[in-house]
């Protein structure tokens, strides 16, 4: 756990502009509907990339393509140059973790347990170890508990460790989801609307948290509607409209692009399909 | 296999399949709307058969009716009585066992359904025969002889087709036609379709979802009752546990055709009946039921949406 973080930090210093994730020509069709059309995107080490677009633009669908929840109709997604495996859990193991737009915590588990589930793919103890309480199980349990507490501390939830996640306030649930994702030791973190439903104060805290995560050496890809948030935060921003990349550039470039403004203000009402 | 034998087994398969299909519709309609496997539906079928039998008893156990009177008065009355009992039972179970569990984990209504299934069987076994003048319900009860159908057959060359088979298949055809009309041409039917596609939106659009669910249970139960009467005449007897195996097979049929899809249930039922008949003819009859279940498992693995493919969306 700590190893990966240090490694990543070191890598960020030496090879700053190396590509971590590369999606090329990703297309996703549902029957006759093309939700994502030829989207290409690059995320570099230590970079925060924003993904914006009106409702129904295909942002979440694109996320699902990246994390293995959907199998893209065509196109290629590669992490550190290697093609991402097809199943969500393999994607997690390869180093891509995510949060959900509509929070999907394990509600009847405590915050600590939630984070420990995130640790699942980084632990190895099998059924025999667990049944016989062999050293491997014990060592892993101890290490996992410690690491989980560390991540809770990182997102500022130490006092809530033994609180059932369903009892946490909304903002804390969002942060817990991030802690859970971080516990999988990712290289890239995908955040799906991390500030949805938050008040300005909470949003500021979230912003600060994301910077701290970046400082750990992780790259972050974030979907957001809050423009101020995204332009404060992101190194580069892509704007997705009707499944296609409209603009890609720095915050300032995207912000001033007339097509983006038109897409947001002038676009007809499209169905919200972000809750796949 | 001689052509005659083939034809005879075809008729056997179609008759049995029609019974399955009539019951399967109940599983499919309810599942389509509330995503609940109404495990007790087999017992609704049984209640329907007993309801019809009760009408015959209350009519004074007539045995010497003319064919016209039997077909024109007795049989419709029996079917109506069966439907009344079956629909009543189904609505009661829905109201008191399933409705309070809406929104509970899916395990809860399923376990509840098993409980209802056992309860209804035992209820009939223990108490039906205690009513003065009613036969002992702990064992099979011979179903009344309906003049004009029972015991008659049509001769086609060397092959004789029992009128009870004809009745069973005809019952399926008529019921399917009615059902089609009900679902596609009535307001309640359209509300059912809407609810099955998106219950929350349906509710917002002013559809009384409770009522729609009740209609689904009622429609399924009515068809099961018709199946109960057909079963009584085709098989010759009814008993308290007739619903268990029939229910299981009918569920298999519903899955086979694509659960949630009404046409699928009909097709699945007929296919399953034919499979059983020909598996029994070609192979060892001892393994007949195994084939039916193996097919169920194969379908689930390779084509979980069933033969006619209702889309099973994981709403998670």
């Amino acid at each position: 756990m700590t190893m990966t973080v240090h490694e990543a930090v070191a890598r960020r210093r030496t090879a700053d502009r190396t590509v971590l994730l590369e999606a090329s020509d990703v297309t996703m069709r549902f029957g006759g509907l093309t939700a994502v059309n030829n989207v290409s995107l690059k995320v570099h080490y230590g970079e925060i990339v924003g993904l914006i677009g009106p409702n129904g633009a295909g942002k979440t669908t694109f996320f699902n393509c990246l994390t293995g929840l959907y199998k893209p109709t065509s196109g290629r997604v590669a992490l550190e140059g290697e093609k991402l495996p097809p199943k969500p859990r393999q994607v997690v193991a390869a180093g891509v973790a995510r949060t959900f737009q509509n929070i999907r915590l394990f509600h009847n588990m405590t915050a600590l347990e939630n984070v420990m589930v995130g640790m699942y793919c980084r632990t190895k103890a099998n059924a025999v170890d667990a049944i016989l309480r062999l050293p491997r199980h014990r060592a892993e349990e101890r290490a996992a508990t410690k690491a989980a507490r560390k991540w809770l501390a990182f997102v500022g939830l130490t006092p809530a460790a033994d609180v059932l996640s369903r009892n946490l306030p909304y903002g804390d649930q969002r942060r817990l989801e991030i802690a859970r994702a971080l516990a999988t030791s990712p290289k890239l973190l995908l955040l799906d609307e991390p500030t949805a439903g938050m008040n300005p104060n909470e949003t500021r805290q979230a912003e600060e948290l994301i910077f701290r995560i970046r400082d750990l050496g992780l790259a972050i890809l974030v979907i957001e509607h809050d423009m101020r948030f995204i332009f404060n935060l992101c190194d580069t921003v892509s704007c997705l409209v009707q499944g296609e990349v409209l603009v890609c550039g720095t915050g300032a470039e995207v912000q001033s692009d007339p097509r983006v403004i038109e897409a947001y203000l002038g676009s007809p009402q499209l169905e919200d399909e972000d809750d796949a | 296999m001689t052509p005659d034998l083939f034809f005879e087994q075809l008729v056997n398969g179609l008759s049995l399949g029609s019974l399955y299909a009539l019951i399967a519709v109940g599983y499919t309609v309810v599942y389509g709307i509330v995503q609940l496997i109404n495990f007790a539906h087999g017992e609704i079928f049984m209640m329907g058969a007993f309801g019809a039998y009760t009408v015959w008893l209350l009519a004074g156990s007539p045995t010497e009716l003319s064919a016209a009177a039997a077909l024109g008065l007795l049989l419709p009355a029996m079917i109506l009585g069966g439907i009344l009992v079956a629909v009543g039972t189904a609505l009661l179970t829905e109201r008191f066992a399933y409705r309070p569990l809406r929104g509970a984990p899916r395990l809860a209504p399923l376990i509840s359904a098993i409980g209802i299934s056992v309860f209804l069987q035992e209820f009939v076994r223990l108490f039906y025969g205690r009513i003065p003048g009613f036969p002992d319900s702990k064992r099979a009860i011979p179903f009344p002889h309906i003049e004009g159908i029972s015991g008659n057959s049509i001769q086609l060359g060397d092959v004789s087709i029992k009128m009870t088979s004809v009745f069973t298949v005809a019952a399926l055809l008529i019921c399917t036609a009615f059902l089609w009309y009900y679902i596609n041409r009535t307001k309640t039917g359209r509300a059912m379709i809407a609810t099955s596609q998106d219950p929350d939106t349906a509710r917002l659009m002013g559809i009384d979802v409770d009522r729609v669910i009740m209609s689904a249970f009622a429609v399924g139960a009515a068809l099961a009752a018709v199946a109960g009467v057909a079963h009584g005449m085709y098989i010759g007897n009814i008993d308290f546990k007739m619903g268990f195996m029939a229910g299981l097979k009918a569920f298999t049929a519903a899955v086979l055709g694509g659960i949630g899809n009404i046409n699928g249930a009909v097709v699945g039922g007929v296919v399953l009946g034919l499979v059983e008949a020909f598996a029994g003819q070609v192979g060892d009859t001892a393994w007949k039921d195994v084939w039916a279940f193996v097919i169920l498992i194969l379908v689930l693995v390779f084509r979980p949406q069933g033969l006619l493919g209702a889309k099973v969306v994981d709403r998670a």
Partner: protein, 406 residues
């Protein structure tokens, strides 16, 4: 919470007031000592009293009950009162074994009548044997129960196990001979894959083919199924002259009905599991006409004892019918009671007489039982080889032929 508690208390009070109104004084411990306290000996029964075979199982209990009542009324064993302890086995081996263990633990129990299913008898018999309790079976037909796994090298399995009904290796061949004698050479067999039915058909097949007949179709049904048309069509295409069915009447009746409806108008023959009025009811009078069954002993109406039993049973006011095994059960109880007459005469308690009773039953013989002669061979099987073929005539079982099995 407290409201419910109060309501419950009020209800309890009300109920007790209501109950107090009726009832009779218990006289059993009246101060006077004018009657000598009788010693108690118990005969247990193990049969299905619940579940779908309860109709038949209750007949077994009632047969024993009748015999015990008669014995007590005539003071058959001076100084002893016979009690009956009916146990339910739900037709399940587990429950049957529990019942047996329970009976074995009761020191007053000396013998048991049961079980109905051979699969239940298999675990029950060793338990009773270990406790020296005699078990006289009215209904178990599996040859393995007395002779073990290999019929060619028979070994007695349990010293205390006796049976009155004919085992499959007697009934099957008797039926085969009868059919051959009637000139029937082509038979289709069907059975329900249960111990009784399958055993019967196997023994029938051996004898029938040995006698020059041909089995043109051998099929099975699933007793859970209701629709036998597939099997019937299949059998029909082999054009047999008769069907031999191994199984019990709940399936046999509908099978006969469906066969006749499908145009297969040939007689259906079976073992004593069919010998019940309910068979005719289920098949329908017309369909059942001409169907056959075998049963041990001379026909009921030819034996005075059998007639007397039937009358006594009818007068006994039992809710359930006599069933196929009621008469055997009655006889089984009487065999036990006869043995007890000698073994209990000198005994101080029932438990000490258990072993002697086993021996007494082994050497017991009678010619006046409800089912005719009874005596036991070295395996515990009834040596009475008289069997009767019954035929449905005019909606009733009528004796068609009586003979001695090989």
């Amino acid at each position: 919470m407290t409201k419910t508690a109060k309501a419950a208390i009020i209800a309890a009070v009300a109920a007790s007031v209501a109950l107090a109104g009726c009832g009779t004084r218990d006289e059993s411990n009246s101060a006077g000592g004018d009657t000598v306290e009788k010693k108690v000996v118990t005969i247990g029964t193990i049969s299905p009293l619940t579940g779908d075979l309860s109709a038949v199982g209750s007949g077994i209990r009632n047969g024993v009950d009748l015999a015990v009542k008669q014995a007590n009324a005539s003071d058959a064993i001076p100084g002893w009162e016979i009690k009956i302890e009916p146990m339910d086995d739900e037709a399940k081996p587990d429950t049957g074994k529990n019942a047996a263990t329970k009976l074995a633990a009761d020191d007053t129990v000396i013998a048991v009548v049961g079980t109905m299913n051979s699969s239940v008898a298999q675990p029950v018999a060793p338990v009773l044997n270990a406790a020296d309790i005699s078990m006289v079976s009215p209904a178990n037909t599996s040859p393995a129960l007395t002779k073990g796994a290999d019929l060619n090298a028979p070994v007695r399995q349990n010293k205390s196990f006796f049976r009155l009904c004919a085992s499959d290796d007697k009934q099957g061949p008797f039926a085969a001979d009868y059919l051959l004698e009637q000139g029937i050479k082509k038979v289709a067999t069907i059975h329900d894959k249960k111990v009784y039915g399958q055993g019967l058909v196997e023994e029938f097949t051996k004898a029938f083919t040995a006698g020059g007949g041909e089995i043109v179709a051998a099929e099975t049904i699933n007793p859970e199924d209701k629709d036998y048309n597939t099997v019937i069509s299949k059998v029909k295409s082999a054009s047999p002259e008769a069907i031999y069915y191994g199984g019990e009447y709940p399936q046999a009746g509908p099978l006969s009905q469906q066969a006749k409806a499908a145009g297969l108008k040939i007689p259906l023959m079976g073992g004593d599991g069919l010998y019940d009025a309910a068979y005719i009811e289920l098949a329908g009078k017309d369909a059942a006409e001409g169907d056959l069954t075998t049963s041990v002993g001379a026909p009921v109406d030819s034996l005075e004892s059998a007639k007397a039993f039937a009358e006594a049973y009818a007068a006994g006011g039992y809710a359930e019918g006599i069933g196929p095994y009621g008469a055997y059960s009655y006889d089984a109880a009487n065999v036990i009671i006869s043995a007890l007459k000698t073994t209990l005469a000198s005994a101080t308690d029932a438990k000490s007489a258990r072993a002697a009773t086993v021996d007494a039953i082994q050497s017991f013989t009678t010619t006046t039982a409800a089912t005719g002669d009874i005596s036991f061979d070295e395996f515990g099987d009834n040596t009475n080889q008289v069997m009767t073929v019954y035929k449905v005539e005019g909606g009733e079982w009528k004796a068609a032929y009586t003979g001695t099995a090989m």
